[in-house]
């Protein structure tokens, strides 16, 4: 705890979806650098509550980088400046004494603000509901080893399946496209024999849902993959495009 820093925190405050929001700046003092970013917000919130003010609302749950609940656009980056990490895995040693740190919610047409830094990401669930599954009923499965799957394909499917559904890719994209998110799921199933039977239907259904929900188009700028905390690769989008063309040709 040798090291502590003090800084200004410029935070987006917004009462609810209907109200206008604005930035409010707080002086935050003597934060040990081994504090996580969210613990720093906890400390500030505790001080706000002590003063009788409402704390800053933000989403979080596991605080281990796996649930995808935390968000925050910090100094112009979704999940902050660290690469390969979510906001909850960001530590204050990344910042310096005297900094001004700007914190905003995810900004995207498809993610309306609920309160302060919390947004509504239901649209991501709706895309999954449109086709992000294998259609079969519980109990009907054959033995798990009946179909061998090459380790290479299984590992690659696992990499795609690592998407935590946080929506940082959407927040990073100038078009507000959810293409990286959709392609991760499409790829996982495209790589596995279990997903093949419905591949064509799936890719079309998920993409048309994405369009319907107000996400933008993909123009291959790659900001999504650069900011994705789980290193979901752009090659997933290439695979999705191939799958989509195949599906269209079959129409």
């Amino acid at each position: 705890m040798e090291n502590s820093i003090s800084f200004k925190l410029k935070v987006w405050r917004q009462k609810d979806a209907k109200s206008q929001g604005q930035f409010v700046t707080y002086d935050v003092n003597d934060i040990p650098t081994d504090t996580s970013f969210l613990e720093m917000l906890d400390i500030l919130n505790e001080q706000l509550v002590e003063k009788g003010e409402e704390p800053i609302h933000f989403d979080h749950d596991c605080r281990e980088g796996i649930c995808g609940m935390c968000s925050l656009y910090i100094n112009g980056h979704p999940h902050g400046p660290a690469t390969g990490a979510t906001t909850c895995q960001l530590y204050m040693r990344r910042f310096h004494d005297g900094d001004t740190i700007t914190v905003e919610p995810w900004r995207s047409a498809a993610f309306p603000v609920i309160k302060d830094l919390m947004v509504n990401r239901n649209a991501l669930d709706q895309i999954q509901q449109a086709g992000g599954y294998v259609s079969f009923n519980t109990g009907g499965a054959q033995d798990a080893n009946a179909i061998p799957i090459s380790k290479v394909a299984a590992d690659e499917a696992m990499d795609s399946a690592s998407c935590i559904g946080c929506g940082a890719c959407v927040a990073a994209c100038k078009n507000g496209s959810a293409m990286l998110f959709v392609s991760a799921k499409v790829s996982q199933f495209a790589l596995l024999p279990q997903g093949k039977a419905e591949a064509k239907k799936r890719v079309k259904a998920m993409l048309s849902k994405m369009d319907e929900l107000g996400f933008g188009n993909c123009t291959n700028t790659g900001a999504c993959a650069a900011e994705c905390p789980k290193n979901i690769k752009l090659s997933n989008i290439a695979r999705l495009n191939r799958e989509f063309i195949c599906a269209k040709c079959a129409d």
Binding site: S36, H57, I66, M69, A141, P148, Q194
Partner: protein, 668 residues
């Protein structure tokens, strides 16, 4: 033994265990249970609260069967339930490795690991359906780890001599939950499941002695809403956050379970709380949660503290580092005490041994509450590349949090290379206790079921690694969807309910009154400050080492804490819209009640077993001393109408037919 059994046995408890030999009970049950035909399923509504492995798998399967399901969770998406964070893996008795595994062996290991305090019949069924789970998940497209030949890979876990754990990198819980979530999505798309996110159940509604609905708060609007159904299933996870600091996610809570308890469902074995030995130690009083370092590290890491108290003092003062202490000055206390299992003893044993060393003053960090987990020997033997391949992601995670890289060469003494050790300490991780359920997973309230970590059923006094995921999915995919039909079969003539009944009215009013009361206290203290105090009391007196005196102190302190909560709590804002502080306060009230329940149970159990260690009951060598003569039962607690009154204990005696009860031995 028989005599004690009869003395403690009380007629109130019917666990509904089917007749017949253990291996045939579940088959017999399914052959004779009542079912609901497809046309009638459409007329029946089921509420499932929770979207973790248990809740999501149950909701999806019930939807597939044709029931109408209403599914609730606190998070903004079902996929974010706490199950997502499970790392290590899931057990099944597939015997793909041909190493002698079988349903019986998995059953036996689970009962033994649970220190002979689980119900035999439930555990056998769990082991029996474990294989179906793996088949199910593979069919869903869960990308389990595979061998080069294309078949599924396995690893071994503490407390077992076979390799039966299936895994997906270090993200098994995530992949299993995403599998269940995908099945759930299919049912949502089909209109069979309606999903309510950012909703929190506040109470269960009972009509004529049966669970008929819930009152839930829409966390976005702040409004209370009523939901009716023919049956209610609770899948709301464990109560580890009673201790404030734990490995559980921030929203994990026991409020739904407490609501059921206050409405007449018994709570079983609350004292059985699992403390995981390998977590990153507490670093300051601002910390919000503890991070688990996977148990798999104990395969290659060696746990130690200094032999000399002087070295420990220097470590605590920051004058030297772990790597300054040469091999011969190190005390590998697990290897010393448990030569046969060494660093791989079960979680409860490893945790207590760490506490014992730290209590004696040998702790290795500034607070004196940490021990070393060292990879030097493994790195010198296998090379850093091999070790990084195995644990690289965990090393990175450790470094991100602590700024120390455990794979870094730090010192060389007499030609021996020493690498930075990790520091670890035990932390609250999992709760074996929970809502009491019978063999059908029904609670003591008709029509109210409990599945997953929130019930007490399968792990006895201690849970083995990789068995919680197995239980959650067993309950949700393969057990509850059957057993609930036995209950629903005579409900088909009951029409859909209106929520405009006096019972719903009264339940909503009580919930509203509770919220109004919390808002009106207007004292001085934040929710978190009181929750932290609760955590300190629990960890100090109801934690790893419990005594009669300490537990009595705890009960006294908890009483005072409740008073502080009720008179000095402050919640800013209003009830309109989202108010996190109010939601946390609602949960904290139940954590305090839960804390008392744990203490009552721990006080009543005058023996040490599994996760419950009473210091008065240990052998000369400091090992847990069980008392099968007097404590071979499930301890159930009944609510007495008010949080202030002590609950009543009811005992469900255990009967073992298949397994001989023995002392656990990990020494030789």
């Amino acid at each position: 033994m028989e005599e004690t059994m009869n003395k403690t046995a009380q007629p109130v408890i019917d666990s509904k265990i089917p007749e017949g030999p253990i291996a045939e009970k579940w088959t017999n049950y399914k052959a004779h249970q009542k079912l609901v035909n497809p046309a009638n399923k459409r007329r029946l509504d089921i509420i499932v609260v929770g979207t973790g492995l248990a809740g999501a798998s149950a909701a999806a399967t019930l939807g597939e069967m044709g029931f109408n399901v209403l599914n609730f969770c606190i998070q903004d998406s079902p996929r974010r339930a706490h199950s997502i964070a499970a790392q290590g893996g899931i057990n099944a008795a597939k015997n793909y490795q041909n190493d002698g595994d079988s349903v019986y062996r998995l059953f036996y290991d689970t009962v033994k690991g649970g220190d002979y305090r689980a119900r035999e019949a439930n555990v056998y069924r769990l082991a029996e359906v474990s294989n179906n789970i793996i088949d199910q998940c593979v069919a869903q497209g869960v990308p389990f780890a595979r061998e080069y030949g294309g078949l599924l890979a396995n690893r071994s876990f503490g407390g077992a001599q076979v390799s039966r754990t299936f895994y997906a990198k270090g993200q098994t819980g995530q992949q299993l939950l995403l599998g269940a979530y995908s099945s759930l999505n299919r049912q949502i798309n089909a209109g069979k499941v309606k999903s309510y996110n950012r909703y929190e159940m506040h109470d269960v509604v009972i009509i004529d002695g049966r669970a008929r609905g819930i009152i839930a708060k829409n966390l976005v609007t702040g409004k209370l809403e009523r939901f009716a159904a023919h049956a209610v299933v609770i899948a709301t996870g464990g109560y580890g956050n009673t201790y404030f600091l734990s490995t559980n996610a921030m929203a994990c809570n026991c409020s739904a379970a407490m609501a059921c308890y206050r409405k007449g469902a018994m709570f079983a074995n609350p004292a059985y709380v699992q403390i995981h030995p390998t977590c990153i130690p507490v670093h300051g009083d601002k910390q919000s949660k503890l991070t688990l370092m996977s148990e798999s590290l104990r395969n290659d890491g060696r746990i130690w503290v200094p032999k000399n108290i002087e070295d420990a003092k220097k470590l605590q003062a920051g004058e030297i580092k772990g790597s300054d202490i040469p091999e011969k000055e190190r005390d590998y206390y697990l290897e010393r005490r448990y030569p046969a299992f060494g660093n791989l003893v079960p979680r409860d044993v490893a945790s207590r041994a760490a506490k014992e060393r730290c209590d004696k003053g040998y702790g290795v960090n500034n607070t004196g509450l940490a021990v070393f987990l060292d990879f030097s020997e493994a790195i010198n033997r296998l090379g850093i590349d091999v070790i990084r391949q195995r644990y690289g992601n965990l090393f990175d995670m450790y470094e991100e949090i602590t700024d120390v890289n455990p794979g870094e060469l730090a010192n060389e003494i007499d030609g021996v290379k020493y690498y930075n050790p990790m520091m670890i300490y035990p932390a609250i991780h999992y709760t074996m206790g929970g809502i009491w359920v019978d063999y059908e997973l029904q609670t003591s309230v008709k029509g109210l079921f409990a599945i997953g970590e929130c019930n007490f059923s399968d792990h006895g006094a201690n849970r083995l690694g990789a068995s919680a995921l197995m239980q959650g999915l067993a309950d949700g995919y393969f057990v509850l969807p059957y057993t609930i039909q036995n209950y629903l079969s005579d409900q088909i003539t009951v029409p859909r309910f209106s929520t405009d009944t006096p019972e719903f009215e009264a339940a909503e009013k009580a919930v509203q009154d509770n919220l109004d009361r919390l808002m009106s206290i207007q004292g001085k203290r934040s929710v978190d400050s009181i929750h932290k105090e609760l955590g300190h009391i629990m960890w100090e007196y109801v934690g790893m080492g419990r005594t009669r005196e300490g537990l009595e102190t705890a009960l006294q302190k908890l009483k005072e804490l409740r008073k502080e909560f009720e008179t000095n709590l402050f919640i800013p804002g209003t009830q309109e819209g989202m108010n996190n502080e109010l939601d946390k306060a609602f949960r904290l009230r139940d954590f305090i009640a839960m804390g008392e329940l744990i203490a009552y149970d721990a006080l009543s159990r005058n023996e040490s077993c599994g996760g419950h260690f009473r210091e008065e009951y240990q052998t000369e060598e400091g090992e847990a001393k069980r008392d099968d003569e007097n404590y071979f039962y499930v301890s159930c607690w009944k609510y007495n109408g008010s949080d202030e009154t002590a609950p009543t204990q009811v005992k469900e005696p255990l009967h073992y037919e298949a397994i001989k009860v023995q002392t656990r031995n990990y020494k030789n």
